[in-house]
């Protein structure tokens, strides 16, 4: 069965209140695609981190500036693209070393763990950043979420068969 979901787009004001909307949406998408619960939690956290980054560093917390989030299904993988209006993001946004916790503990406001966590949770990241726009894309391989990993009670009402059970269709 070909899934009906190819592209979902959400736009939120740059406020942490609305990050929760995107994070909850990520769970809905993951369950729709038949992700196992642990993989669903990984997706939820990675999306939360990317959106938080876009709110705080991309859009500088300006509530009138939107963060866009696209969930794109492409054959055997899910892409989550987070778009802010910051631009010229640092290249290390795609590669952060493991944190030195002793150094973090020496800071008054220990932050900067988000990108590292994303790297641990996703199958790939991609960054496109220029004047006034940054696109941060995270990839999740669908083949790592076989149906047998899903606890019987995990999928919500109306959950769909996992993508592995579907026939491939044209990429959109």
């Amino acid at each position: 069965m070909m899934t009906e979901m190819n592209d979902i787009e959400i736009n939120i004001p740059s406020d942490h209140v609305f990050e929760r909307i995107v994070r909850d949406s990520a769970v809905v998408v993951a369950r729709y695609l038949g992700f196992a619960e642990e993989r669903t939690a990984d997706l939820q956290l990675a999306v939360s981190e990317a959106v938080t980054n876009a709110i705080e560093h991309g859009n500088k917390g300006r509530i009138d500036v939107k963060v866009g989030v696209h969930f794109l299904l492409q054959h055997d993988r899910l892409a989550v693209r987070v778009i802010d209006q910051g631009g010229n993001a640092p290249a290390d946004l795609t590669h952060q070393p493991a944190p030195h916790m002793e150094e973090k503990l020496a800071e008054d406001s220990p932050r900067g763990l988000g990108i590292f966590l994303i790297q641990q949770l996703v199958d790939g990241v991609e960054l496109h950043s220029g004047e006034g726009r940054t696109e941060f894309t995270m990839w999740f391989n669908l083949k790592e979420t076989p149906a047998e990993e899903i606890p019987p009670a995990a999928p919500g009402p109306g959950a769909h068969p996992p993508p592995g059970d579907e026939q491939s269709g044209e990429e959109t």
Binding site: H16, E38, Q44, L45, P110, R111, G114, L117
Partner: protein
């Protein structure tokens, strides 16, 4: 209200009442820094989600506990949150335990 504090002799239990330890609940969780005793246990039993902004709030508690020479512990952590804590080496500073273990050693 995101937390509820229970004090016993030498032991503070910080019950986290919100299901999300994130940027929105961080301030209230950080406020527990003023309630630390010799040993303080954070109860994550109702927590469904933790992100790096929430971990930052927890790290502030770790920092304050270190300054005061006190110890922090974590109770009722889910397998997913344990995995995340391990990724950032959090459990070195806030080890997992059970209430029974803590009470058994409370003087």
């Amino acid at each position: 209200m995101s937390i509820m504090i229970e004090q016993n002799s030498g032991l503070t239990i910080v019950r986290i009442l919100t299901d999300s330890v994130d940027a929105l609940s961080a301030k209230e969780i950080e406020a527990a820094a003023g309630e630390l005793r010799e040993r303080t246990a954070l109860d994550f039993g109702k927590v469904l989600f933790i992100n790096s902004a929430g971990i930052s709030a927890l790290l502030k508690l770790v920092i304050e506990a270190r300054k005061q020479g006190k110890k922090l512990y974590a109770l009722n952590v889910t397998a997913h949150h344990r995995k995340v804590f391990e990724m950032v080496d959090m459990l070195r500073y806030m080890p997992l335990t059970t209430l029974e273990e803590l009470q058994a050693t409370t003087t």
